[in-house]
Symmetry: C2
Subunit: 205 residues, 2 copies
Amino acid sequence: MNESKTGAAAAGRRRPARERLLVTAARRFYAEGVTATGIDTIIAEAGVAKTSLYNNFSSKAELVRAYLDARHEEWLATYRARLEEAAGPREAVLAVFDTYADCAEAARETGFRGCGLLNVAAELPAGDTARDVVRRHKETVEALILGHLEQLLPERPEEAGALAEHLSFLLEGAMARAGLEGDGSRLAHARTLATALLDGAADKP
Amino acid sequence: MNESKTGAAAAGRRRPARERLLVTAARRFYAEGVTATGIDTIIAEAGVAKTSLYNNFSSKAELVRAYLDARHEEWLATYRARLEEAAGPREAVLAVFDTYADCAEAARETGFRGCGLLNVAAELPAGDTARDVVRRHKETVEALILGHLEQLLPERPEEAGALAEHLSFLLEGAMARAGLEGDGSRLAHARTLATALLDGAADKP
DNA sequence: CGTTAACTGAACAGACCTGTACAGTTTAGC
DNA sequence: GCTAAACTGTACAGGTCTGTTCAGTTAACG
């Protein structure tokens, strides 16, 4: 009945304000951190009334949560694009490293500052539920690597598990160092180290 | 003339307030982040007048800087203690991993949340000078590892360099994941991976 | 055209932020 | 005891913070 009306109205009308808020929040939250970025700054830069923000998000914490979810989805989209170019499981693992490099490259113009998800977790207290979102994101990354390694090393599951953790440590460590230095060269080094590990694992069964 | 007087007064009298401020700031900054922790919270918990804070530190930013310097010195002290137990260069490298585990263990009761230095860097904007303090700290850690590896692999300097970077990525990556999970088991895994790498490098020259 | 939902701008509440000012108290060394 | 330094408590200035309220506007729909 009013399904198409409400649905169309929501799709055609609610989007602009919500979308502009998410785009602006993404830029500011990443560049300056979530605690240091005020609501007033976001609505002014987005050109949106404060009432519209609180019509779309019940609180700043929910906006932060939406930001984290968007970053996770964005990461997955970049990863899937990289995965399409991958020939086999070895290249699929390296696609994860390339995805991290893509993230660094995308943030370069505004000032690369490391992983946006991890940075948010770093400024939230220990029990905050938003930290769990970040924890699960990193677990997803490791699980994706593991999936490819199980194809690469079908007869050696526990070696695949250890290698997946090893590679995910390399990824996160290189990302942290790269963020401090403001460029992605550390991620390129990590990719080189990863290829050596993959070759070593494939060579000597 | 007034050197002994002023010196003694500074040692006997200025310390208490400054020290209590640093101890309290360390606890709060680590647990809740520097931006989310207000000056009033710190002075109340330290039992110190606001005037005393601004007599010892010219601004909150300087207190944050003192916090970072203290964490760096604390790390070095823990590392030196671990290094004394190390038999050779191989064990010296592992002493760095043990130092990270010590940090995680020390923060366990209040709520382990990853590397305190890296967490501060994560909530500061790109150009902030405090980020350089953290960057240099991490470069120091890698340089210490490199020094031990140059002893372990005296004839292969470029392999030592690549391995030092590899091990430092492992350290930081495991620390980040451990912080998200709230316990140090990931650091133990990283240490195991490090021993395998060290054995591999020593075995096949 | 009239309904409905999204949106706007502005004012407001109440709290918290950093940093300063000031008058007075405690403590150490002479 | 006297001086000088560190320290205390309180009040204040001038912002900024999140979140709410409200009256009025815009735009898409049947």
